[in-house]
Subunit: 147 residues, 2 copies
DNA sequence: CACGTTCTTGACGTTGACGTCAACGTAAAG
DNA sequence: CTTTACGTTGACGTCAACGTCAAGAACGTG
């Protein structure tokens, strides 16, 4: 897969003036989809939920580096088993205004909550891994005793 | 809650001969449910999926220590975001026969797969925590610059 | 300019993980 | 013996996270 054969259209830079190569590149929905190993339907679903908001060139979606970054965060959150709504509130936090002090303190509070959650998960994870290790040892013992 | 007022029935030991106190105790569905902070519906659902299989005293479910152990594993798996079906295959692995060598080798293979999955999750988790830390630092910097 | 490819917007279907409600059994308490 | 609390089996509802058509629009190519 990903062999650069014939289909190599739409790699033009976007609206600005520069045309370097990677900073101002744009991507089609198909490109981001199979770059991240998801379907276009999934990508659109995430847009419906406000997780990403690509530019529109006419009716067509145009994805920038920012969108890919966010999509990456979403998928990591998904691998960690978070519901998409929760993921949205988290990554929205990342580029929230935080101009006023109150805003900043709210954000810091949210951070603490998130961290508590993640650390609970880490405990669960370590426990699961430890059990798995112990179980493997017992299995290997059984195996060696069979010889 | 859990005040030992009037309702203190059904704490008799089960079928055997001993009657110590905690090893051979049994529990009702309501007891396990609110001990683990889930509804009775959830407990029954897990039974439907074969995650636990309590004894039946007539039609009534009677839970033993084994069931509570398994329920604990299930809920940890759930906190980690695993689908229940997958959880079942994993904890079934724990008390699989593993008498013959082939069985044992199969189990060891499964263990490796599981561990790979868990370690991917750990990487995601560490990354998320690291990002969170960095983000908090930036926020605190912003805050101190506002003074 | 017809054609195939890629994209679009609906809209309904599906699966997992339960919630919820109805209707009924049963055992201790008054 | 009725009440009350807890338990049981269906069966349908719901919500999230997509899958899966259907039916067009837009665009480069032979």
């Amino acid at each position: 897969m990903a062999t650069p054969t014939t289909t190599r259209t739409g790699a033009r830079s976007a609206g600005g003036d520069a045309g370097s190569d990677d900073a101002a590149r744009t991507w089609s929905i198909a490109e981001v989809a199979d770059e991240f190993g998801v379907t276009h339907r999934t990508v659109r679903h995430y847009e419906d939920l406000g997780l990403i908001s690509p530019e529109r060139r006419g009716t067509t979606r145009v994805y920038h580096r920012r969108d890919r970054t966010r999509l990456g965060l979403v998928l990591r959150g998904r691998r960690l088993g978070f519901p998409l709504e929760e993921i949205r509130t988290i990554i929205d936090l990342y580029d929230a205004p935080r101009g006023r002090r109150s805003q900043l303190e709210y954000v810091l509070g949210q951070i603490d909550e998130r961290r508590a959650d993640l650390e609970q998960r880490r405990r669960d994870l370590e426990a699961a891994l430890a059990e798995l290790d112990g179980f493997e040892r017992r299995c290997r013992d059984d195996l060696s005793r069979m010889a």
